[in-house]
């Protein structure tokens, strides 16, 4: 049997991954360099009896997908820097009210309007901490067109299962990169949300279940529950009782810890005996992989640790590797965000070397290689 191939752009892969995952609602607003996701969704969703709507602004797009998701339909939106900032309030609502949703953020140069058509990796921290109030969420950083497809599917699976917003975060280079992929006929696993099926009389929409993920009531099924962005008790209604607040917040935070093994995803290259370790994500990790392989050919004990799920950070896996490493090299297209995380996680004896680009250009393999070579010489 011959395998068919297709040329696919990163942003289109994101749209097709969403469709494969069962996404049937997209609300968006035009913004460079993510618009191709909305454009592709406007073509694909009607074929699957889904809804595509271009909203009046970024905030409305985020609100609309939450409305659709609360109605029981898998929903996503896509944006870039300025739009991502505007969506933050409603991303916080999704985290607090535990509404599944997927947000793609195709990163461009900043701050502010910045460089709309140039790549950057400067939203790594905003993706984690962008909304006010301490809130948990998941951020996935794919590194190729194929991975954008697969990880968008996984984003929906995690979002529906864990009842959380999931951010799919990649830069303009990956968004517009065209790669050849095998056309897979395999059906993707569509995660069905855990729906409430108990008696409406006793149902508590935010009850502390054993998996810490309460089933969601579907409007129309007779539950008639209340959903709010106010801090709420197990019955869904607002509370400011300190003990109830702590209990509710603790469950919300603990659910990520409990399901960490499913959330966690990372790639390691030559890490077993690595003395110099490159730690980065997305397109920079792609350059790093090339640099590490070349360095190995030159006899340098280099390795690569690439979080695919960036947040929560795969801490345990990283700490196992880092104990033998002398130097960590952190290439990133920002002024130093991942290097902050390295300062937090690495032992004091570990040297941290940054490669930062903020000029709207991707980091080339040779830049990383030359740093690996100079580290090895010392």
């Amino acid at each position: 049997m011959s395998i068919k191939y297709q040329n696919l752009q990163g942003n289109h892969a994101c749209a097709l991954g969403a469709i494969a995952a069962g996404c049937r609602f997209f609300a968006g607003y035009p913004i460079t360099p993510s618009s191709e996701i909305a454009e592709r969704m406007s073509l694909e969703l009607p074929k699957h009896e889904g809804v595509f709507i271009q909203m009046e602004d970024e905030i409305a797009s985020m609100g609309a997908i939450l409305g659709a998701s609360m109605g029981g339909v898998k929903a996503m939106t896509a944006t870039s820097g300025p739009g991502f900032s505007l969506k933050q309030e409603n991303i916080g609502y999704a985290a607090g009210a535990e509404i599944p949703c997927v947000i793609a953020n195709v990163m461009r140069g900043g701050p502010s309007t910045g460089m709309p058509t140039r790549p950057a990796q400067s939203d790594l921290m905003q993706a984690r901490w962008g909304s006010h109030g301490g809130h948990p969420l998941i951020v996935i950083t794919p590194g190729s067109v194929r991975e954008i497809f697969d990880e968008t599917v996984r984003a929906f699976q995690l979002s529906e299962k864990i009842r959380t917003p999931v951010i799919v975060l990649y830069d303009e280079v990956l968004g517009h990169l065209v790669e050849t992929l095998p056309l897979s006929g395999a059906a993707h696993k569509i995660t069905e949300r855990k729906w409430a099926d108990e008696s409406p009389e006793t149902f508590m929409p935010y009850a502390e279940t054993t998996d810490l993920i309460p089933p969601m009531p579907r409007p129309g099924d007779g539950y008639r529950t209340h959903t709010t962005g106010l801090t709420h008790a197990e019955d869904g209604f607002p509370t400011q009782n300190p003990e109830t607040v702590v209990k509710a917040m603790k469950r919300m935070l603990d659910k990520f810890e409990l399901h960490q093994s499913e959330i966690e995803s990372y790639e390691t290259v030559c890490c077993e005996d690595a003395e110099v370790l490159v730690m980065t994500v997305g397109i920079s990790a792609r350059a790093a992989k090339h640099a590490v392989k070349t360095a190995r050919q030159e006899g340098i004990k280099a390795g690569l640790f690439r979080p695919i799920t960036l947040w929560p950070f795969p801490e345990k896996a990283f700490k196992k590797i880092i104990s033998k490493v002398k130097t960590v090299v952190v290439p990133e297209m920002n002024t130093g965000q991942l290097s902050l995380e390295m300062e937090r996680l690495c032992p004091k004896k570990t040297k941290i070397k940054s490669i930062n680009r903020i000029d709207g250009e991707a980091i080339a393999p040779k830049e990383i290689l030359s740093l690996l070579q100079s580290v090895a010489k010392k």
């Binding site: 609602f25 609300a27 009607p46 409305a60 409305g67 659709a68 409007p219 129309g220 007779g222 209340h226």
Partner: protein, 281 residues
């Protein structure tokens, strides 16, 4: 799904009584609007299970939680955005947005004009009390000129938004306005809104007695609500007003009624046509 409704309207059938006492101030008009809405829902035999209330932030936003239905209390100014997603994804639900003058004319103004333009089936009830009551009485886009608020300590100098003119100009198919004193008319207007196949906008003039009234020495709660009557045409009391009765001030009744294509139906027909033409190919 049956709700075991008694034939006579009993507000208790529609309230979450365990949340009582409610938190509205004595004399607040929002409770009257709530009752009018629930009675309209009852008379149209809309199932509570199918009723979805989406509200924003402010005193108006908190009203929704008292309704025994699917209630969504969302972010400030965004209930129309959330409701758009909900109504498009679930056309089987009866979606009602409860919002305020600050929620829908200031922070959420963009969503209001585009909801009017789009004409997706839902009812938007805007409770206009001329003030940000929840945050302590700051000026809103509908605060009358010269009125005192905590952010206009020497009297407001800003021009006032006419929400109904705005909604009509933006394309809303159904636009109405009523005062809380006119409870039977308010209920009937809400019934018309719920029955309208498209986006219906109803402005309810609802007094903020405790904060706005007190600050501006507008009298006691009964005096304030009776003042609503002073500029009314006598024969309009208790009836649906087809013609505006405050020709020189605020018009009430049905202010605009146009048959326009409903967005959800239009979208689904558009998709069906695409699928059909694909089959032919």
């Amino acid at each position: 799904m049956s709700n075991n409704l008694s034939k006579e309207f009993n507000i208790r059938d529609y309230l979450r009584e365990d949340l009582m006492p409610h938190f509205l101030c004595p004399g607040c008009g929002h409770g009257i609007a709530l009752r009018a809405l629930l009675q309209a829902v009852h008379e149209l035999e809309i199932s509570k299970d199918q009723l979805a209330i989406v509200s924003g932030i402010g005193c108006s936003g908190r009203v929704g939680a008292y309704i025994d239905a699917n209630t969504f209390h969302v972010t400030h100014g965004r209930p129309l955005a959330f409701a758009t997603g909900l109504a498009l994804a679930r056309p089987d639900l009866e979606v009602v947005v409860i919002t305020g003058d600050g929620d829908s004319l200031a922070i959420g103004g963009n969503h209001l004009i585009h909801a009017c333009r789009r004409n997706l089936k839902m009812t938007c009830m805007m409770l206009n009390n001329e003030v940000y009551g929840m945050t302590g009485g700051q000026a809103s886009p509908t605060t009358s000129q010269t009125r005192y608020t905590t952010t206009s300590p020497k009297g407001s100098i800003e021009p006032v938004f006419d929400a109904c003119k705005l909604a009509e100009a933006a394309g809303a198919g159904f636009v109405g306005r009523e005062v809380t004193l006119q409870m039977p008319s308010l209920k009937n207007l809400l019934k018309k809104c719920l029955q309208y196949d498209g986006f219906s906008f109803l402005e309810v003039i609802s007094d903020c007695t405790e904060i706005f009234g007190r600050k501006n020495q507008l009298g006691t709660s009964p005096e304030m609500i009776l003042n609503q009557k002073s500029s009314m045409r006598p024969d309009s009391y208790g009836n649906i007003v087809d013609e505006p009765f405050r020709p020189n001030f605020m018009k009430t009744g049905v202010l605009a009624l146009n048959e326009r294509p409903e967005y959800s139906a239009t979208y689904r027909q558009h998709v069906a046509r695409q699928l059909k033409s694909k089959e032919k190919k």
